[in-house]
């Protein structure tokens, strides 16, 4: 293996890992608190890309505004998703297979969002202007576009901010308390009813911000969320559902595997290789790398 390849793999790992982390950490947050595998996160990425396209290309405004708008819009959408697809089921929680039923309802929301976008905006792939243009040469033949670098930095910053939020703030503590013991948290006066929509809004907002950047790297189109969703699912299982540190490690590990696979066997086979890895992980360690069977996490 040539030095160029190694540097290339390192750079790709950083970029892929950061972006996977941003989408997957939201899913982990939701799974940790609500025991829901939120299938609507992919469509939040798609909505984020379209907001990026709308503000950067159609309106020609500032990239920071695009990121803020995507954050706000997907936050609201996430809250609405929770109210429509999860809240009505909360009362029957113990009588139904909650994980599977919410898996289906959030999937239904994803179906609706994707196809409303298809009906309103058409199946076209829209170019989203890069948030930052230009690129830096890292090594002979390895270029790192500023867009990717910014994306990685923003992702890392947001993940760190989420960590601080969960560790230091009142609401963050409340989310972790609910994740650990719902009944105890409720007895301590945690407003669980408000917390659930907040958690899902927050996670969706992270996916929305990821969407603005991903739209710049690829395109904005109605199915733009499918691939990020599948990749985030792989990351989330690999790290162990509900484990935040596990998700961050897994994001970079999956990024590394994909980057290496792309260099060695080509782009076509990188996803099948990831799926094989995840198949093996589930066979060997059914609860992922850091996941624990049914214990409270986060």
């Amino acid at each position: 293996m040539v030095a160029t390849d190694i540097v290339g793999i390192a750079v790709t790992t950083l970029i892929l890992g950061s972006i996977y982390g941003l989408v997957a950490i939201g899913m982990t947050l939701i799974y940790g608190t609500l025991r829901i595998l939120d299938m609507s996160q992919g469509s939040m990425v798609m909505v984020g890309s379209f907001i990026g396209w709308g503000i950067l290309v159609v309106a020609g405004l500032n990239p920071i505004l695009a990121i803020l708008a995507a954050f706000a819009a997907t936050f609201i959408l996430g809250v609405l998703t929770q109210l429509a697809s999860v809240q009505p089921l909360m009362k029957r929680r113990s009588a139904i297979d909650f994980e599977m039923v919410t898996f289906i309802t959030t999937f239904a929301v994803a179906m609706v969002l994707t196809n409303v976008a298809l009906e309103l905006l058409g199946p076209f792939q829209r170019n989203v202007t890069s948030v930052v243009s230009g690129s830096i040469s890292v090594y002979h033949g390895v270029n790192l576009p500023y867009q990717s670098l910014t994306m990685a930095l923003v992702s890392i910053a947001l993940m760190a901010a989420l960590g601080v939020f969960l560790a230091r703030t009142r609401w963050g503590l409340a989310i972790r308390a609910v994740a650990q013991d719902l009944d105890a948290a409720r007895l301590m006066g945690v407003p669980v009813g408000k917390l659930y929509p907040l958690t899902m809004g927050l996670a969706s907002a992270l996916a929305g911000v990821a969407g603005v950047f991903l739209g710049g790297l690829y395109f904005a189109y109605p199915q733009a969320g499918d691939l990020p969703l599948l990749e985030a699912l792989i990351v989330v299982i690999f790290g162990g559902l509900g484990s935040l540190p596990g998700t961050v490690y897994a994001a970079y590990a999956i990024g590394l595997i994909q980057a290496t696979a792309e260099v060695i066997v080509g782009t076509t086979w990188s996803l099948p290789i990831l799926y094989t890895v995840i198949l093996l992980v589930l066979i060997v360690r059914p609860h992922g790398l850091l996941g624990k069977p049914s214990e409270a996490r986060l």
């Binding site: 009505p88 039923v101 099948p272 799926y275 059914p286």
Partner: protein, 364 residues
Amino acid sequence: MSERETLAEPTASPVLATSVFPLMTRGRWGATCLAALVAAAIPLVMTNQYVLSVMITTLILLVLNISWNFLLGVAGVWNFGQLAIYALGGYGAGIIMLHSSVSPWLALLAGGVIGTVVAVLLSFPTLRLYGIYTSLLTFAFAEIVQYVILNDGSGLTGGSFGLPIVPGLYSSLGLSTSARAYYWTALAVVVASTVALAAVGRSRLGIALRGIRDAPAYTAARGVNPLRYRIVAFAISGFLAGIAGALYVSYDQSISPSVMGLTPMSVYVTMLVIGGLGTATGPILGTILVQIVATLLVTHPGAEFTILGLFLLVVVVFVPEGLAGLIGRYWRKVAAWAAEDEQSATEAAEATGETEGSPDEYVA
């Protein structure tokens, strides 16, 4: 031992359905026979070839959905790799029809055998898993199968274009005659599999499967081996899915990787859940209803899926037992009123008061 513990996880409570393959009473037999006869008479009066082709596709889909319903609804195993089993059965049968001179009926059977083998192999890694993890593993399997077929370098599968023109079961017949023949073949398979799975649902096997689904710890304690029964459920379901795939490739004269993936899967799951997961009539009602919506909105895919998504959401939240359960509930009420004089109080209570996870469900 750890497997036993994982399966005994208390979270695996009843899934979506409440009534499961109810006993086939004389009235039900009559209704089933009547429905089958009416369905069989349709191609005699229906001359519109387009409508007939949609109906044949629906019947083939019904076979797939009945097989999937058995695993998802009755056995409670969240297998999202069913479309890969279906596709592999179809590709296997198609390749045999293309490259060998054996009877296409043998190829059809071979599709079922391939489906069984693939399903049993797929069942092994899922034995340690439950719920959401099962669905992720099986979905990963389906994605790998799709990629392998798409990027197959040997030219056996034809990549994204799929198999070239496959002779099929009725290649010697004319267009409209063969359409009728396919219709009756597919209908026969639908009726046979419905009746067979209803019988299985009544048997010890069906009772054991529902027991494992609703109360894994209790059922295991009563001496039912959950792992063995899960493999058997996969095998039965896989056989039918393989047959469905073989019927598809035979009628469509081709099969491509687009039969798998997230989009078709979401449609089929919608069909099952809307109809009523785990019921005998649910998949039939759901498949027909969704196919009608899809056919009417064929020029507006965005609107079609938006409606299906909203439908799915509303059904799961407000009518968790599905259309079949809803109809069954009202039907039982009517029946209870009609028979009020002669029926004893306990029977009436049983007829109306069938609730989720009631203790008598797995003893039945």
